[in-house]
């Protein structure tokens, strides 16, 4: 650990020196680094797919769609837009301040820390990295020890492509994170659980370090069957793909549970079952298209959620667990009790509870009774329901008639609220996330108003009052002696 402490201190020193040198301020430097990330991913696609398969059993198509493709796109957008993003924003100043000028400059925070997660170890590391670099920071990335092959890849390959006096990678678990958090950073970006998010924020508070916390929650999916029954096939495909097709439910924006009117539940389940089989075959474990559970601990956690006898009784599909092979079968539950553990913590696995309600409008009450999630999904064509969902619930985001896909829309901020997080990123929001918006105001030395200065008198008071209320005409009268000072 001593060696690790020294490594961290040494790294911090070097990164701070690099930042002080001004090298990272150059837009050219930033674009070169981001282009290098792009090249790194393109050059190593096969290797990346391989490490993701080793860590999570991800199929290469899933790996590309969810991780590599996302990073490539993110890098492209950043390179294409950086010049625009970095332009200072001019502000209009009220006439009173004429001829003063105002603008806002985005400046890098300095040396930032990115702590990424194991479920999308490549994109959740490189995407924030792109944001940090785009904004002109030096950055240390600590990847998750639960995805060791991806972590090792990043630790070995990033130094080969990027400016390693400015961008560094450190591997390790909670003990390394603890050492890192003892130091002062100019910003911390964390992706992970709310429990650890609290620890991160408390540590950051010691140094008044601003944080972005991308956390999680139970993302509900409302299925308003009658209004979308014409397209039910698409609906079911999207839910199935969204739940099991992306890291086997281990995603912060995964469909956590479904809400549907009681009378339609069995129709939905009857469509889900064959679809799961068509996506993953009769033996999903062997399909190669279903990710593994990341670790034995998480298998045990999911097992425990299912072990509750009332939950066991609600299994209508799947339920088998192979701890040795880190496999949990795609499982569907029908109405597990709302007070069971599985309905009160983020599932983060391939188990899908279907909760029935008497009236689809009741789903809103259930959603509101839980912590604010990262995403709410609703399949409906009922405009009233859409309005109610938008105005009565709160979540990081809301997606109508699809799942997960808001992640790919880089014009939309990606982040949580309440338990699901603080701050946001993607697209320009990534740039902003790692920037301090510095206000610059330039006054003129030429025009000076006596009324600004003591000693005070009633004329000056009237003058300033009128000036503030921008009553320019009255002000003029005052100055011309045509209005009495009060």
């Amino acid at each position: 650990m001593e060696a690790m402490k020294e490594t961290v201190e040494e790294s911090l020193r070097e990164m701070r020196d690099t930042f002080a040198s001004g090298r990272t301020r150059s837009l050219k430097w930033r674009k070169r680094q981001i282009a290098a990330i792009y090249e790194m991913v393109k050059d190593n696609e096969d290797k990346l797919c391989s490490v993701l398969f080793q860590d999570l059993g991800k199929h290469s198509t899933e790996a590309f769609r969810d991780e590599l493709g996302h990073v490539l796109r993110s890098a492209t957008v950043a390179i294409n837009c950086l010049d625009k993003w970095a332009v200072p924003k001019q502000s209009n100043l009220p006439l009173l301040f004429f001829p003063a000028k105002g603008k806002v400059i985005s400046e890098p925070y300095g040396t930032v820390l990115v702590l990424s997660s194991w479920n999308f170890p490549i994109s959740l590391s490189l995407d924030p990295l792109i944001g940090a670099i785009a904004a002109g920071n030096t950055v240390l990335l600590k990847s998750s020890e639960l995805s060791p092959n991806a972590s090792a890849f990043l630790a070995k390959t990033i130094p080969a492509y990027l400016d390693n006096k400015a961008i560094k990678v450190i591997e390790g678990g909670p003990d390394v994170a603890t050492i890192l958090l003892q130091h002062q950073w100019d910003k911390i970006f964390f992706t992970g659980s709310p429990k650890i998010g609290r620890i991160i924020m408390a540590a950051a508070a010691q140094h008044l370090t601003p944080v972005t916390l991308e956390l999680g929650g139970k993302c509900p999916t409302i299925v308003d069957y009658p209004t979308i029954s014409k397209n039910i096939k698409s609906v079911v495909k999207r839910i199935t793909g969204g739940k099991w097709g992306s890291c086997s439910g281990q995603a912060c924006i995964s469909v956590d549970y479904v809400l549907i009117e009681k009378s339609f539940a069995s129709s939905l389940i009857d469509m889900l079952k064959p679809l799961i089989r068509s996506f993953f075959g009769d033996n999903p474990k062997e399909s190669g298209c279903l990710s593994r559970i990341v670790s034995k601990q998480h298998v045990q956690r999911l097992s425990r959620l299912l072990n509750d006898p009332r939950v066991q009784a609600s299994i209508v599909y799947g339920g088998s667990i192979d701890e040795e092979n880190l496999y949990v079968e795609p499982t569907i539950l029908l109405d597990p009790p709302l007070d069971s553990e599985i309905m009160n913590e983020e599932i983060f696995g391939p188990i899908l509870p279907i909760i029935t309600v008497r009236d689809i409008q009741d789903s809103i009450g259930i959603i509101k009774s839980k912590a604010k999630p990262l995403a709410i999904y609703a399949f409906t064509n009922d405009e009233n329901l859409k309005t109610r969902i938008l105005s009565e619930t709160s979540s990081g985001s809301v997606t109508f008639n699809d799942v997960m896909i808001q992640y790919m829309c880089d014009a939309l901020p990606f982040g949580g609220v309440g338990e699901s997080g603080i701050g946001r990123y993607h697209g320009k929001y990534s740039f902003d996330c790692f920037s301090h918006e510095k206000a610059i105001m330039e006054g003129s030395l030429a025009m000076d108003l006596e009324a600004r200065y003591p000693p005070w008198n009633s004329f000056k008071l009237s003058f300033i009052r009128l000036a503030f209320s921008e009553a320019y005409f009255k002000l003029l009268l005052l100055m011309l002696g045509l209005k009495r000072s009060t």
């Binding site: 109508f400 790919m408 939309l412 997080g421 918006e437 510095k438 105001m441 030395l445 005070w456």
Partner: protein
């Protein structure tokens, strides 16, 4: 003579308060445009009808001159209310966001929603401005809000409690008076946002408490705001603005007060002479008798400031002023020349009427002096030199930069007002206040038509190729793949 019994505010009361406000929020009391407008109008009425009471309370608490109270508290608040009233519809409207080919067909927008029940903790130096301005933001954004004014300005605190109770909707807006005990009890509760104005030391305490509930915070802190004075400037205007900004704004007790001056050895004598001359013009030969400056807020701060002056190697550097009157809590405008850089007065935020001038061999050195200290809330520069202005704006990291003036950026609602590093996180004023108290919810509307099988398992090479093309959003590639030409 009966004194009204002070209501006990214990843990139960704190919890009940939050629950009550949460019920109001959940019932939708604060969400509607009309409610927000009504509250804002009432705040405007308070400014219009109670200016006299406010001026009196500020005179009691701080000995603040009427002009300062009218201008820097009431007038600024009035403008803030009027701006919110005028712009609220605009601010509340969703922003459209651009979607890309990957999410086509879709439309996207960003909806501003209130965070819920928020806590505003304000400071003693501008007790009305720093209480009501954030409350304007909280209400505009549709939140329920609890205000905890500073006990160090007791008359203002009592008046705020009385006026807000009298005019605003008590089911959603409340004031809790008290000291650290009441503040601690409030901080134990779960808030949806905490807005704090005060010291960096307490800022840490606030953020640590907020971390327990993952509550986002805005911390408006302070720091040593430096003033760099170039010989190439209009000396008279420069000096008048520095004096008005320092002693004319609550006698140096302001978060953006010019804390210390940096200038060349060559220019310092001229600067000092000009300052002495203008100080006499503003405050007369006996500044201790001048009614145009606030007093020191209390004996604790008086003693703190005395200690700064009494330090060895500092006391002999006083070149103007230095008179003290503990009974009346007055310290004369005091200038010091070349105190040691490691003295107390150069290490902590002065927050009083003492102004050290540090002389350098050349102005370049000022960048190092500033850089070696924590990032301040504001940094000032007086010069005609365009290149120097640009370098200063780029190189100096502070909450905000003002060239050729002092503190006026506070009055500009088009510039974000906030700190960085030790001087804080988050920003407000104008629309930035509305945004500070809002969650920007991303909303994606997708169509159920047009589904790409490429999204779903079982995965194949063809699907992978198509995905890659989609990610590039290159329409030609996509057609090539679809037509089997790739």
């Amino acid at each position: 003579m009966a004194a009204t019994a002070k209501k006990v505010f214990g843990a139960a009361e704190a919890s009940d308060l939050v629950n009550e406000l949460r019920r109001s929020f959940d019932d939708g009391v604060t969400r509607g445009y009309d409610w927000r407008i009504t509250q804002l109008k009432k705040l405007l009425v308070i400014c219009d009808n109670h200016e006299h009471d406010i001026v009196e309370a500020l005179r009691d608490d701080l000995g603040k001159p009427e002009l300062e109270s009218s201008v820097f508290e009431v007038a600024l608040l009035r403008n803030s209310c009027k701006l919110a009233l005028k712009q609220l519809k605009n601010w509340m409207a969703p922003d459209k966001a651009k979607t890309s080919l990957t999410t086509f067909p879709a439309s996207a927008e960003i909806v501003s929603e209130p965070l819920g029940v928020v806590l505003v903790i304000s400071a003693w130096n501008y007790p009305f401005l720093l209480s009501i301005d954030p409350v304007i933001g909280a209400i505009s954004a549709g939140n329920a809000v609890v205000l905890k004014p500073s006990e160090l300005a007791p008359a203002s605190s009592a008046l705020l409690a009385k006026l807000l109770e009298q005019y605003l909707d008590p089911s959603a807006v409340r004031v809790v008076e008290g000291n650290v005990n009441e503040t601690t009890l409030l901080l134990d509760q779960k808030w949806d946002k905490i807005f704090y104005t005060g010291s960096s030391k307490i800022g840490r305490v606030i953020m640590t408490a907020a971390a327990k509930h993952l509550t986002p915070v805005v911390l408006e802190l302070g720091g040593k705001s430096p003033v760099v004075v170039d010989s190439n400037t209009d000396l008279k205007v420069t000096v008048r603005r520095i004096i008005a900004g320092k002693w004319g704004c609550n006698n140096g007790q302001a978060c953006v007060s010019p804390d210390y001056i940096l200038t060349t050895k060559e220019f310092a004598p001229k600067l000092l002479d000009a300052m002495k001359h203008e100080l006499e013009t503003f405050y007369g030969k006996k500044p201790m008798d001048s009614k145009d400056m606030s007093r020191i807020v209390n004996s604790n701060h008086f003693d703190r400031l005395s200690k700064l002056l009494e330090e060895k190697e500092v006391s002999d550097k006083i070149v103007y002023g230095g008179d003290k009157d503990r009974e009346n809590l007055k310290i004369a405008p005091t200038i010091l020349l070349d105190v040691p850089l490691d003295s107390l007065i150069m290490s902590e935020e002065i927050f009083g009427p003492l102004l050290p001038i540090i002389t350098l061999n050349n102005l370049e050195e000022s960048f190092d002096v500033i850089h070696s200290r924590p990032k301040p809330l504001a940094a000032y520069l007086f010069t005609h030199n365009q290149k120097l202005k640009e370098r200063f704006a780029m190189k100096v990291s502070a909450g905000g930069i003002v060239v050729n003036d002092i503190a006026v950026h506070l009055a500009l609602h088009t510039l974000p007002f906030g700190g960085v590093g030790e001087s804080g996180m988050g920003a407000y004023h104008g629309k930035f206040s509305f945004d500070a108290f809002s969650h920007k919810k991303a909303v994606l509307y997708r169509s159920l038509f047009g589904d790409a099988p490429v999204r779903y398992p079982p995965y194949s090479r063809g699907k992978l190729r198509l995905l890659k093309a989609l990610v590039d959003s290159n329409i030609f590639n996509i057609f090539k793949v679809l037509l089997g030409l790739s």
